[in-house]
């Protein structure tokens, strides 16, 4: 059997003195899809930053543990070496190169590709996936709408032809139709052998796409199992799927935890 696409052991990381990851262990099987769920601030984005080596850009550092991808150790490598090893990360919040055109953004995506000859092919695939990017190819990326930028960010990552794709909230700000299309894309590239580590707030979607899932809480893995197991768990259903459990009224969302109501300001 081929080695897993990604194996993380006891990974710890911190922003300065503040720990952000406390001993994460997880695995993405070769050609598989794993999902990471977790609330705001759980450390999901930090995890991906640690994997792709950009944590130092955010003032953080990996402080312990091992990361191997397809047999090579990634820990301590520079981001460009990690990309060269076939691991590509789509950061949270788009980060398109606003002053470059859409076409140039895609081109930037293929800079780290190991096989540049296939760039044209990859571009055609991206254009087929998101026709708007072909239409707007000469427009500065910064002028695209939020969702269009998200499409560009994903398309840009696909240009590199990665072995392992790290996706941080790909559906952020995308219309339902497009979200569905992205789900399709993930399944498709997965079929051609690209493994995916998926962070997704749309837990229903994530659990549908993934084989395995991990739930992070304050920088540590709180739960893990197959996607189906987790989808069935009450805890996950309530907290991450947002499904109302018994006792809560579907219609008006119920009273929720006690919060002092806000009154108009008198001053």
């Amino acid at each position: 059997m081929s080695p897993p696409a990604l194996r993380v052991r006891d990974l710890t990381a911190a922003y300065g003195p503040v720990p952000a990851l406390r001993g994460i262990t997880l695995e993405v099987p070769a050609g598989g899809v794993a999902a990471v769920l977790g609330g705001n601030g759980a450390g999901k984005s930090t995890l991906l930053r640690a994997l792709s080596g950009v944590l130092p850009f955010h003032g953080g550092a990996v402080t312990g543990g091992e990361i191997t991808a397809g047999g090579t150790s990634l820990r301590g490598l520079r981001p460009d070496r990690i990309v060269a090893a076939g691991v590509v990360h789509v950061p949270e919040g788009r980060h398109v190169f606003a002053r470059m055109t859409v076409a140039e953004n895609l081109r930037a995506g293929s800079l780290g590709a190991r096989d540049r000859r296939r760039a044209a092919e990859a571009r055609d695939r991206v254009h087929a996936l998101f026709p708007i990017l072909a239409e707007r190819s000469r427009q500065p990326a910064g002028l695209l709408s939020g969702g269009e930028q998200q499409m560009l960010a994903i398309g840009r990552a696909l240009m590199a032809g990665p072995d392992l794709l790290l996706l941080d909230e790909p559906s952020l700000g995308l219309a339902p139709l497009v979200t569905a299309r992205i789900a399709g894309t993930i399944t498709e590239i997965n079929r051609y052998g690209t493994a995916v580590l998926l962070i997704e707030q749309n837990a229903a979607l994530a659990l549908r796409l993934a084989d395995h899932a991990y739930v992070l809480e304050t920088g540590a893995v709180a739960l893990h199992g197959t996607a189906d197991e987790l989808a069935a768990s009450d805890e996950v259903r309530r907290r991450y799927l947002g499904v109302a459990t018994s006792g809560e009224d579907e219609e008006d969302l119920g009273p929720g935890p006690a919060v002092r109501p806000l009154a108009r300001w008198a001053g």
Binding site: V18, P19, A20, G41, T218, G219
Partner: protein, 332 residues
């Protein structure tokens, strides 16, 4: 010290509001020369007549500071419109144009040679070198030394004022304009007005610094108020730490004192050739050390000298902006 005041003003503009100004030298000059012109008696020197109004020095100083503010105000149509680097470069033009005018306006500035600065007189006390200085504790206590006290008081006042601005309502507005102009507008901040406003405030600081500098140097020379000076001020705030009041003062001390110290003790730098020999002369060595110190400070203290002052660490002091914010650490 005078430099510190100027640096604080520039830091309000560049560090807090993100408006790069390379034209600070111009406003220093406006302050310095307005003071000289108002306070000096008319005289003849170096072949031409120098005008002067002979006002009492304190009044002249106050008006000079105001004049610098007005000059800043006149520039505000530009200051309000441009931002960041473009503004920096537009103000750069101000330096060159300003210098041109200074060189030409010989009747006021003394042209290339500059002109003497009338000493400050407060309550009959002359703050200038006199032939018979009173000696205190064995140190001749000239007027120049006495200038220290009002100077230090002004600096303290300027720093206190600046902190109030930075951590108060205008400071927040300026920071947001720097970080996200669009959001600032949408949150109700009149962006152009604030840009212009902070430009005026920083010009006032520069004007005050100009007056003090003139008093310290006892002579104002147009050549001095050039690009190098403007860059020095930028260096001060960057070395001190952008956006920090204390940092600006520290940076100012660093930038203005280091070359003097190095020149003075240049002979003591090891491995330096004596004049006439091949190799680095003391003054060259001093220059090199100065340049290297620049680089070294920024290499090892990425946040500037402010990084040395734990008390002023940015998040901590910023948090003080709102006392209500002492909710303790967020859960991580």
């Amino acid at each position: 010290m005078a430099a510190a005041i100027g640096a604080i003003g520039l830091n309000l503009l560049t560090g807090v509001a993100g408006q790069l100004s390379m034209g600070h030298a111009f406003f220093l000059a406006v302050g310095a020369y307005t003071y000289v012109w108002l306070a000096a008696e008319p005289e003849r020197a170096a072949g031409h007549t120098l005008h002067g109004l002979g006002w009492p020095p304190p009044l002249a100083a106050a008006v000079a500071v105001a004049a610098a503010g007005i000059a800043g105000g006149l520039f505000s149509p530009i200051a309000g419109r441009l931002r960041g680097a473009s503004l920096g470069i537009a103000t750069l033009a101000l330096v060159f144009l300003g210098q041109h005018v200074l060189f030409r306006a010989e009747a006021v500035t003394g042209g290339v040679n500059g002109r003497a600065v009338p000493p400050m007189e407060i309550l009959g006390l002359r703050l200038a070198d006199s032939p018979e200085p009173p000696v205190v504790l064995g140190v001749p206590f000239g007027g120049l030394e006495m200038l220290w006290f009002p100077g230090a008081a002004l600096l303290a006042l300027a720093a206190w004022f600046a902190r109030g601005v930075v951590y108060g309502r205008p400071g927040r507005a300026l920071t947001t304009i720097r970080d996200h102009e669009i959001a600032a507008g949408a949150m109700g901040v009149p962006v152009a007005r604030y840009r212009a406003g902070v430009f005026v405030v920083s010009s006032v600081y520069a004007g005050l610094a100009g007056v003090l500098l003139a008093l310290v140097f006892q002579r104002a020379v147009p050549e001095y108020f050039g690009l190098a000076l403007a860059l020095d001020y930028l260096a001060m705030i960057v070395i001190g730490g952008l956006g920090s009041v204390g940092g600006a003062a520290a940076g100012a001390v660093f930038v203005s004192l280091l070359p003097q110290l190095l020149t003075r003790y240049g002979d003591a730098i090891p491995f330096v050739a004596q004049p006439g020999e091949e190799g680095l002369s003391p003054s060259e060595a001093a220059r090199v050390l100065y340049g290297a110190a620049f680089v070294a400070v920024l290499l090892y203290l990425p946040r500037g000298l402010r990084g040395l002052l734990p008390r002023c660490a940015a998040p901590a002091s910023r948090a003080r902006a709102v006392r209500a914010g002492d909710a303790g650490d967020p859960p991580r």
